[in-house]
């Protein structure tokens, strides 16, 4: 199973180049698409999900030419948009039946079986008679997963699904997604590095419509082994550090001192100590390098 994207470009009416000559190949399993807000993640995902046409380029999923034969892709597509609403005053059960019908599940019995199962999986069975518009954020996201499963999809696209969820909900959500993603392609966009770390066997960092890095979480951190340095400083020293070193991140400690992380092939100075690279470091390095290039 393979999703291949070649030379994909999309420019919006207002001049923003949301996707900039993008090439990528994505295999089976969980694929994390990491990028800051406005990086073009949603544009890319919507384009793959047949909702938007690119200006140029091609997308193939296995032998389906996505841009030419949208219907073929839609048959195997499960898509959860970044934010979505539902028809008011309709229960989860009714709405899922509506979606199952849209997705071509033929018989009433089949739909019932399927809906019961996805409700069970997403732990919404108890509240299946309640109207979805009244669900909490987490329940609604789980409902999103439930509807996505209805056509037994081979390609699953979930756009920033964990934004705004409480830790327990987030955890539960990721678990379900992981289960779902064992034998199909799941593309999962987020701006939270943790999500990718916990979940994905492959990842890419996207900004300004370009793939900055395409790797696995493991390889990415391994690559930086011995090049991440840390130090505890006072707030006033920060500007100096930022000016002299390749500063990746800084975090306050409880005593108002700061922990800074710096990227450097060599030890920057004596008071820096080496530390284990985190996926965050990979992310920040990629974004920073991109920034320098652009400037």
């Amino acid at each position: 199973m393979k999703l291949t994207i070649n030379n994909l470009t999309k420019t919006y009416k207002n001049g923003v180049k949301a996707i900039d000559n993008l090439n990528i190949e994505i295999g089976t399993g969980m694929f994390g698409l990491l990028g800051p807000n406005g990086a073009g993640k949603s544009s890319l995902m919507r384009t793959i999900a047949t909702l938007q046409s690119p200006d140029s380029g091609s997308i193939f999923f296995n032998d389906i030419n996505v841009l030419e034969d949208k219907m073929a892709l839609r048959k195997v597509l499960g898509y959860l948009p970044q934010s979505f609403g539902v028809y008011p005053k309709m229960s989860a059960e009714k709405l899922l039946d509506y979606f199952a019908t849209l997705k071509g599940v033929k018989s009433k019995e089949d739909r019932k079986k399927l809906i019961d199962e996805v409700l069970e999986i997403t732990n919404l069975y108890e509240v299946r008679k309640k109207s979805v518009s009244g669900y909490s954020g987490g329940m609604k996201q789980r409902f999103g997963i439930a509807q996505l499963l209805l056509n037994n999809p081979k390609l699953i696209i979930v756009d920033e699904p964990t934004a705004g969820l409480d830790p327990a909900e987030r955890h539960r959500f990721l678990n379900i997604l992981r289960e779902v993603g064992t034998n199909c392609t799941v593309i999962f966009s987020t701006h939270i590095v943790e999500d990718v770390k916990e979940l994905c066997n492959e990842m890419a960092i996207l900004n300004g419509g370009r793939i900055l890095k395409h790797t696995t979480p493991m390889d990415a951190t391994n690559e930086l082994e011995g090049q991440i340095w840390t130090k505890t400083i006072e707030r006033s020293e920060l500007d100096g550090i930022e000016a002299n070193y390749n500063l990746l991140s800084s975090n306050y400690n409880q005593d108002n001192s700061l922990n800074v992380r710096v990227y450097s092939a060599e030890q920057p100075s004596d008071d820096f100590i080496t530390t284990d690279p985190q996926l965050d470091d990979v992310y920040f390095i990629a974004l920073k390098e991109d920034q320098i290039e652009t400037v």
Binding site: K75, V105, E117, N123, A168, N175
Partner: protein
């Protein structure tokens, strides 16, 4: 803070393109309306009449108010949006936590929206002003600009109305947080206001109606309803007490509604719910922290086949259908609509207070009431459904599923169709329930279903297809709705721009019409052809909808076009082409049929033709012609083939003193042939006017006779057009089908301004009765006096055919049925043929045969009609002269041929609607028994037309119609008592006063009338009834019988109204001679009023009643301008301190009824005193002693006189 929000709101509107679109439309539309009413488009279409000033205050008021009604539809999208925007953008979650008070917030929101609305209304006024003075308008019909009038309307009516409807919409949207609710509220308000109008339409409720009408129209109408044309042209709008009350009432309602919003509005995240049971709160905790679930989806089968998609379409449509009908506000409006239906059913079709039986076709007519609601709901919900998933933010999920586009939009279409079926079903249910409620059990469910689900439905379907396309195109449901309404309303105005043909106006075409006798007849096929034509157009729109359907998130319209292009497949092209070719082909076929095969004339061309007719042939008007003295004709009617053919001959005599060499022949159709028994030549052939001129080789000398033989044939009906008057059941053809002689002035243009434009001299209409040279023809026939008549008429074997005369022989030959009729006395040249599958009711009394030929299902009122015939004959024989026939026959014909009865010699064709299906209520409260009275009227014509016939000069119809009306009133009074008389007279008075306000030419006195219905019927009946009250029925009838004796069956010169009035004058005592002048010679109106009254009990147990009352009268000239004197300086005047202006009157020496009423044992009012008093001044106070305790007094209490305000003639004690 108020200012901040207010300014922000204003800036928001000023930046929105939609504001400019609205403003532009409500600026341009009024320009179009006012300029076309001021004759701007006269060059491309017909000429606008000349007597009506286009920009008189009352005309401006009507236009301005009508525009506001259209604008109401926008209120939700302006005033509603003002508040709803914050909910929709979820701005309210932030805004409502800001530190401003709800006073600031609500007032700023509401007032800013109101300012926007008021501005647009101001533009309407500006548009009207500009339109009237637009270059090219006819300056003769545009009066000076009274800016005051516009401000009057703006500040007294429109602004308060905007405030009222604005606050209602604002309240609805604030509480429901739904714009749709706002729209339905507007529709509901319009329905309710229509409903109120229906319920309060009676005379007794005029005041209540004036106060309760939310637009203020009825309040103004309270003062202006009887304005004559002259008054309408010159008067400014009144501002009386009733208007003040109305405005104050609704202003306070507005304030209350806004106060209600203010009180209950909360800065709250959730909409206010008005549910009565409070839900119990429940603590919710999470319990889903558990571990992993194994995912093992059950194996199910997927099906993406066409058939499955079709099933899916149906299923999806159910979801959308529920969304429509489960909306509480929708249900609420439906309930109101059902009430409106019911009220329409119970108030429509009532003549003189008598209802029509609830026949199914009549129930179905009420569908109109729901029609507008169905159309607007369709336009609105087309948008709501097309954009539904996007509005709910669910479109990304839906669009990512493997469902084809067509399934999505066809499901929307089906949902809309289901809604329409539901509403149409309501019409049927309401109709059936109403029939049951009226105790009428002849249900025709098949007829209901056919008309509603097929004929009406097609009409809605065609609109739905366009609405779906427009709503797909524009992506904003409200803009889409507005565009659809603009199309829907705007189509009507195309005619004003010279686009007249239905094939260029979406979903327009001829209507069908139904009669119990003849079903849908020919109208049906034509209706369906046009609907099929527009359906093809609709299918084209459906294909375009498919191409433009939005799937996913196209970033620009350009991209949508690209997508549309990529969706064009071979099949699309093929399908579109086939439908397009069919559409254009059918369109061309209709065009060909209406324009090329059969010349179609635009209204303007028709106007030109009338000019040509007059200019070419008027010169022959007075050339002597021989006159028809005998007619012998064979008429063959073919009800199955819908055709007739006829042949026959006219015997003609030169009754003049000069020789005749030219014959001017009008013939009916091009398929006629004409021949004479003398050698002749055709010297002028005109197939446009069907007018030939023949020259006789040898002059026809005075006294010589000539025989003309002719054949006539109906023109052939085509699939598209109907030319033949023959229908399958209920044919009614009159002698217009046969040739006639001489120039007919009936085609001449009548409006003098229009005539001036075409260089024609002013039109006299008809000569004055004093013109002794104009008395040679009757007003019925210009080429004959009295004739012998004999005819053979044939029809299909199952039908009966009737013509005037006595049946000589009836036989069947070759499967056709023949009837030979012959008249034994002279008749006017005025006869007709009827044929249908009739039942016959026969009676005989006093040597006269009475027959009614009726449609089998219409046997409801035969006895009443029978009695009407007998009583009228008896009355007329006693009062005037003998009946000239031994037979009287009534023959029913379909309502599709008209709603009238027409009296031919001993034969009266009678429409099915004006008696056969009346639901007469004989109780005291019931209305007039019109099957009886109309029959009596038609029978009276056997005297007043068929014995006494006036010359074709002014006032001729007084001799026929007014006197027939008088006879009908008298027999009605004898049979049903004088109580029913009041119903009749009151109705006649109101109709007379209302109709004369629409006069476009001139209103003459009764004896010089131009033939207007409201004069010859309504005023005529009032006057002859009043005259019989003044001089006594017997002396009136004596005078009339002397007159009949003198003039009946006379040869020319014919009698005139002058001659009759001379007889009447002779029978009138000197003291009452003024009555003849007031009633016959002038247009004179009274304004009588009881001012004060009181009573005291006298010592001997009687009562002394004191009455103070005013009597005044004035004359109107033919334009309705008042005058108070015949001799200068003779008018009376009266004024008290409380009166704003003096009351004036003609000099009075009048005898007026003064009445005192008491309450009898049954609790009903009865006459205690009724006498005519001689009145010589305006203000009078008299004392009357009565035996019974008085409860009410009155001046002219029975409304015998023509009184401009008949309601203040009585006063209760």
């Amino acid at each position: 803070m108020f200012l901040t929000i207010f300014k922000y709101e204003m800036r928001y509107w000023l930046r929105r393109p939609i504001f400019y679109i609205y403003a532009a439309i409500f600026f341009i539309f009024p320009i179009l309306i006012s300029s076309s009413s001021a004759g701007l488009f006269d060059n491309i279409t017909t000429t606008t009449g000349s007597t009506r000033i286009a920009n008189s205050a009352i005309e401006i008021f009507e236009m301005f108010n009508a525009m506001l009604v259209i604008m109401l539809i926008l209120f939700p999208s302006i005033i509603g949006v003002a508040i709803n925007r914050d909910y929709k953008s979820e701005m309210h979650t932030i805004m409502y936590s800001y530190p401003f008070t709800k006073t600031n917030y609500l007032f700023a929101k509401f007032l800013s929206a109101l300012v926007i609305v008021s501005f647009i209304i101001l533009l309407i006024g500006l548009g009207l002003i500009i339109g009237f003075r637009f270059p090219g308008t006819n300056t003769d019909i545009v009066g000076p600009l009274h800016i005051k009038t516009y401000f009057h309307i703006y500040f007294i009516y429109l602004l308060p109305n905007a405030l009222l409807f604005g606050s209602i919409v604002f309240a609805m949207v604030t509480f429901t947080r739904s714009i749709i609710a706002g729209f339905f509220t507007v529709i509901g308000l319009l329905l309710i206001s229509g409903l109120l109008n229906d319920i309060l339409s009676g005379d007794d409720y005029r005041m209540l109606d004036a106060i309760l009408n939310p637009f203020g129209g009825s309040a103004s109408n309270y003062y202006t309803r009887y304005w004559t044309p002259a008054e309408r042209n010159t008067f400014l709008l009144p501002f009386g007490k009733v208007i003040l009350y109305n405005r104050l009432f609704w202003l306070s309602i507005s304030v209350i509604i806004f106060g209600f919003v203010y009180k209950y509005f909360r800065f709250d995240q959730n909409a206010i719910s008005f549910s009565f049971k409070k839900k119990k709160g429940e603590r919710v905790t999470k319990n889903n922290f558990g571990g992993l679930t194994k995912i093992d989806l059950p194996k199910v089968s997927f099906d993406f086949s066409f058939f499955q998609n079709l099933k899916t379409t149906w299923k999806l449509s159910n979801v959308d259908f529920k969304y429509i009908i489960l909306n509480p506000i929708f249900i609420f409006i439906v309930v109101i609509a059902v009430f409106a239906l019911f009220s329409e059913l119970s108030f429509s079709g009532s003549f003189f207070g008598t209802d029509t039986l609830p026949m199914t076709w009549k129930m179905l007519q009420s569908e109109d009431v729901l029609g507008l609601f169905i159309v607007i709901s369709t336009f609105l919900y087309a948008g709501m459904l097309v954009h539904r998933s996007r509005i709910a933010n669910m479109s990304h999920i839906v669009d990512g599923t493997a469902i084809p586009n067509w399934t999505l939009f066809v499901s929307k279409l089906i949902a809309l169709i289901k809604m329409q079926f539901l509403l149409l079903t309501l019409v049927m249910l309401t109709g059936v329930i109403y029939q049951m409620y009226s105790g009428f059990y002849d249900f025709e469910i098949g007829h209901y279903m056919f008309e509603l689900y097929i004929l009406n439905f097609i009409n809605y379907l065609i609109w739905t297809l366009l609405a779906l396309f427009i709503q797909t195109l524009v992506r904003n449901a409200y803009l889409g709705l507005f565009i659809m309404l603009a199309i829907f309303i705007g189509i009507d105005f195309l005619s004003a721009l010279g686009i007249e043909q239905n094939i260029f106006k979406y979903n327009r075409g001829p209507f069908y019409s139904y009669s119990d006798m003849n079903g849908y007849g020919q109208s049906f096929g034509l209706y369906l052809i046009y609907k099929f034509y527009w359906l093809l157009n609709g299918i084209l729109f459906l294909i375009l909808t498919r191409l433009l359907w939005v799937r996913g998130i196209p970033s620009s319209f350009k991209e949508r076009l690209q997508i549309a292009k990529s969706r064009i497949t071979k099949n699309t092209v093929l399908g579109f082409s086939v439908v397009l070719i069919a559409f254009i082909g059918l369109g061309y076929r209709i065009y060909y049929e209406n324009n090329i095969a059969n010349p179609r004339r635009s209204a303007k061309e028709n106007e030109q033709l009338r000019v040509d007719w007059e200019k070419t042939y008027k010169k022959f008007e007075n050339v002597a012609q021989p006159r028809i003295v005998a007619v012998n004709a064979n008429m063959n009617i073919f009800p199955n083939e819908l055709s007739y053919n006829a042949d026959g001959n006219f015997t003609m005599v030169n009754k003049t003193n000069e020789s005749i060499d030219s014959l001017f022949v009008n013939y009916n159709t091009e398929r006629s042939t004409i021949d004479f028994n003398r050698s002749h030549q055709l010297v002028s052939k005109d197939t446009v006017f069907n007018f030939h001129i023949y020259k006789l080789d040898q002059e026809l000398l005075p006294g010589d006779s000539l025989i003309m033989s002719f054949t006539a044939k109906s023109m052939e009906n085509t699939f598209f057009r109907r030319f033949s008057p023959v229908v399958s059941n209920g044919t009614f053809i009159n002698n217009g089908a046969f040739p006639s002689f001489g120039y007919g002035p009936g085609r001449e243009l009548r409006d003098n301004k229009t005539r001036e434009k075409y260089d024609l001299p002013p039109n006299k209409l008809r000569p004055h009765p004093s013109d002794s040279t104009a008395l040679g023809n009757t007003y019925i026939s210009k080429d004959a006096d009295w004739i012998d008549f004999e005819t053979v008429v044939s029809t299909s074997e199952d039908q009966i055919a009737i013509a005037p005369g006595y049946l000589q022989k009836e036989w069947i030959e070759d499967g056709r049925r023949y009837f030979h009729y012959k008249m034994d006395s002279k008749i006017l040249n005025f006869y007709a043929y009827n044929s249908a599958r009739y039942e016959v009711k026969r009676e005989e009394s006093d040597g006269i045969n009475y027959e009614i030929y009726y449609h089998k299902a219409h046997a409801y009122n035969l006895d009443r009609m029978m009695a009407g015939m007998k009583d009228a004959i008896k009355y007329s024989e006693n009062a005037f002269s003998d009946y000239q026939h031994r037979q009287a026959r009534i023959i029913e014909f379909p309502r599709t041929a008209g709603s009238f009865a027409q009296s031919f010699p001993n034969t009266i064709p009678f429409s099915e609607t004006i008696g056969f299906i009346a639901d007469v209520d004989d109780s005291e409260e019931g209305g007039v028994d019109y099957p009886y009275s109309v029959t009596a009227h038609e029978i009276a014509h056997q005297w007043w037309a068929h014995q006494v016939i006036g010359a074709d000069v002014l006032g001729a119809t007084m001799l026929s119609e007014s006197l027939s009306e008088y006879v009908s009133l008298k027999v009605l009074e004898a049979k049903h008592g004088s109580n029913k008389m009041r119903v009749f007279l009151k109705d006649a008075l109101d109709r007379y006063l209302r109709s004369r306000t629409f006069e476009r030419k001139r209103e003459n006195a009764l004896m010089y009338n131009d033939g207007q219905g409201y004069i010859r019927y309504q005023k005529g009946s009032l006057i002859f009834y009043a005259l019989s009250d003044y001089i006594g029925e017997e002396s009136l009838n004596n005078a009339l019988s002397k007159y009949v004796e003198k003039v009946k069956f006379q040869e020319p010169p014919y009698t005139t109204s002058i001659e009759m009035v001379d007889y009447l004058r002779e029978a009138t005592p000197d003291s009452l001679q003024y009555v003849i002048k007031d009633m016959f010679e002038t247009v004179t109106l009274y304004d009588n009023e009881v001012v004060n009254t009181s009573f005291e009990e006298t010592e001997d147990g009687k009562y002394e009643v004191e009455i103070e009352f005013l009597v005044s009268k004035y004359r109107n000239n033919d334009q309705g301008k008042r005058s108070y004197f015949d001799e200068p300086d003779s008018s009376l005047s009266y004024k008290t301190d409380e009166m704003e202006e003096a009351k004036e009157s003609l000099p009075l020496v009048d005898y007026i009824d003064i009445g005192v009423f008491y309450e009898n044992e049954d609790g009903k009012k009865d006459v205690a005193y009724l006498k005519k008093h001689k009145i010589t001044q305006i203000n009078n106070t008299i004392k009357i002693i009565v035996e019974e305790k008085p409860v009410e007094v009155g001046v002219d209490p029975f409304n015998k006189l023509i009184d401009i305000n008949s309601e203040d003639n009585r006063k209760e004690l």
